[in-house]
């Protein structure tokens, strides 16, 4: 593993691993080795890495279906993630659901549902617990600009504002809710403006600039830990792939994609590293080799893992099943 003390390289590694993982997933999906929906966050790596970097194990995060990088930064075993994607018994949900609906609460990662924004009230509840128990932990809830139109978004922010809860709401504004552009979802430019209505600060930053995300994340997390309440951070970003791997994204132009690819968060970080005097070619090669090794091992583990037996569908419904004599 890359030297943990080398922060710049570690951040680079985490973004590269996230992207390499998702590229591998896309390839496996084309080979029909991964069934079900695959939702790529390629292009949005700076948001998930920047927001989760430096969090503690006990901090609670509620990632989106597009936030595979959150799992990796929080320390979830890449092998278990790959097994999850392949519906294996060894996956996070033991084959019960695909992709990122499986969580790993040992690492403080909450599994989402497909009902977008529904994890926001849940993150607020985790933050309520932190406040009640005088813990300095923080809850981070991710959502898209599309989900900001739903009721639970407003209910969650309202309650967090009333009680000054240690929660950071992260809007990954990638401009499209499936095919629907921002202009048809919200009548304002910035979702962050909505925080004012709930009594806390909303900030906008470039979600493709890791420095910018880190800066806002650290401020908001510090504020939450110190009892200063909630923050909404809106990260303007873009997904390179469609809503899912099935979606050819014909609702947007090639020019628009090229424009955003030229703002690529990983390329920008490479420029930064180079300006810092790093041998970027050597570092890139080393990190890519490391990622390949991790992913080869993850795929091997997943493919060697059994599928669950049919009757296991009846397991894990209840923590305390009714026992009849």
């Amino acid at each position: 593993m890359t030297d943990k003390k080398d922060r710049d390289a570690e951040l680079y590694f985490l973004m590269k691993l996230s992207r390499a993982f998702e590229e591998r997933v896309a390839a496996l999906h084309k080979q029909n080795k991964i069934i079900g929906g695959v939702y790529s966050g390629i292009g949005q790596e700076a948001v998930v890495v920047g927001m989760c970097y430096g969090l503690l194990r006990e901090d609670f995060i509620a990632p989106l279906h597009r936030d595979l990088g959150c799992f990796l930064v929080k320390g979830v075993d890449p092998r278990l993630l790959m097994a999850q994607l392949m519906g294996r018994k060894t996956g996070l949900s033991k084959g019960k659901d695909s992709f990122l609906h499986g969580g790993d609460l040992e690492h403080g990662v909450f599994g989402a549902t497909s009902m977008l924004a529904s994890t926001l009230p849940v993150a607020v509840g985790a933050a309520l617990k932190f406040k009640m128990k005088r813990e300095a932990s923080v809850a981070i809830a991710f959502f898209g600009e599309g989900a900001g139109s739903r009721g639970p978004f407003h209910e969650a922010l309202n309650f967090a504002g009333i009680h000054k809860l240690p929660v950071v709401f992260v809007c990954e504004n990638n401009r499209y809710a499936y095919s629907t552009p921002q202009e048809l979802q919200i009548p304002i430019d910035d979702v962050a403006d909505r925080a004012a209505g709930y009594g806390f600060k909303g900030v906008v930053c470039s979600g493709n600039d890791l420095h910018a995300v880190l800066e806002q994340a650290q401020k908001a997390v510090r504020r939450a830990r110190e009892g200063g309440g909630s923050t909404l951070i809106e990260c303007k970003t873009y997904r390179y792939h469609g809503h899912s791997e099935h979606d050819m994204a014909t609702y947007r132009t090639a020019d628009e994609l090229i424009e955003w690819e030229s703002r690529d968060p990983i390329l920008r970080w490479e420029i930064y590293l180079e300006k810092r005097g790093r041998d970027i070619d050597a570092l890139r090669a080393a990190i890519e080799a490391e990622c390949r090794e991790i992913l080869d091992e993850a795929v091997r583990f997943a493919e060697d893992s059994p599928l669950p037996e049919g009757k296991e569908a009846m397991e894990d419904l209840y923590a305390m099943p009714i026992e009849r004599k």
């Binding site: 996070l92 549902t113 994890t119 894990d316």
Partner: protein, 326 residues
């Protein structure tokens, strides 16, 4: 021993559990200083303070969702719906978020959460303060649904629900709140979830019910006794998972099955009970499975409409006599 109402039994259950376990806390609308719309939580705010008795905004989805978040972090929240009609506003958090939580986390998560509140009609509540919503949830895997008829069970089942590691929806019948009074022992009552109760033993006919209609069944059984008929009353108490062995046992004893509940006939709990009896107890039956339920319409306001819609002792007697004559 002390005489307590069904309502006070619930309040006492909450207080005892909050005293026993500091991770138990309450959240809901107007449950604090006011003590709840029906005063179920009366006195708890002054006893436990605003951190453990939280007045929320009118945000049912937040109430349930925040309870889920606190529950997975090790707390034991009890969320109040001011009326169980309003649970519709928290539906997604219950059926998608809470019910699948353990399942989608591969068995590595617990969601010890209670959602409780007043349900049912007979108080002229009209369309949105009278509904019976239990069948919306009883078929959802991952949830437990309980519905006490007595003060003893109200307290005992609530305490069991709070100690349970799964999401439990706890129905209280608002008609019973102050009408049911019982002597309850001073020692602790914890009633296991998942088990029905024979409320009255009999040999000629089984009435299977839950909630407020249990009392109508008991009244009907008393009248039938004077006519020389021995009717058994089974109080289901837990609607999910159903106590199928208890249903099989009562039908086996009497060979006649009358299902009584306040929820609608179509796809009410009775539909599942009837299907189970048809599948598993067919050779025990000496007559058709009959039902007394609310008519398949909305819970209308005017007394004449309410009387037409809702089950009553008279309606139960009519069906029971028809079944006995079979």
């Amino acid at each position: 021993m002390a005489v307590v109402t069904y309502l006070k039994a619930i309040g006492d259950g909450l207080r005892e559990e909050m005293e026993r376990d500091e991770n138990v806390f309450l959240l809901g609308e107007d449950i604090g200083v006011l003590g709840g719309a029906f005063k179920v939580t009366d006195g708890l705010f002054s006893r436990f303070g605003p951190e453990r008795v939280i007045d929320t905004p009118i945000s049912e989805e937040l109430i349930v969702g925040a309870a889920v978040g606190a529950a997975v972090m090790g707390m034991r929240p009890v969320a109040e719906m001011q009326f169980m009609d309003f649970i519709s506003c928290g539906f997604d958090q219950i059926v998608n978020m809470a019910a699948t939580l353990r399942y989608r986390h591969g068995g590595e998560a617990r969601c010890p959460l209670v959602i409780r509140g007043p349900s049912g009609a007979y108080v002229h509540g009209g369309l949105f303060h009278s509904q019976n919503t239990e069948s919306w949830f009883a078929g959802v895997p991952g949830l437990k649904v309980v519905y006490p008829a007595t003060a003893r069970d109200a307290k005992g089942l609530l305490k069991a629900a709070i100690r349970d590691d799964d999401p439990v929806i706890f129905y209280e019948h608002k008609f019973l709140y102050r009408r049911i009074k019982e002597d309850l022992p001073d020692e602790e009552i914890v009633t296991p979830i998942g088990f029905a109760r024979v409320a009255r033993e009999g040999t000629d006919l089984s009435m299977i019910s839950y909630g407020a209609t249990v009392w109508m069944c008991l009244e009907a059984a008393e009248i039938l006794a004077k006519e020389g008929v021995s009717a058994e009353v089974l109080d289901l108490r837990t609607l999910a998972p159903l106590d199928r062995p208890a249903i099989r046992a009562t039908v086996g004893r009497t060979n006649k099955c009358l299902i009584v509940h306040e929820d609608h006939r179509t796809l009410g709990i009775g539909a599942e009970v009837a299907a189970f009896v048809a599948e598993e107890c067919f050779d025990q039956l000496d007559g058709p499975v009959l039902r007394v339920c609310s008519e398949d319409t909305h819970y209308a306001f005017s007394p004449t409409l309410e009387d037409f819609i809702l089950p009553s002792t008279e309606k139960i007697l009519t069906k029971a006599r028809a079944l006995l004559a079979w």
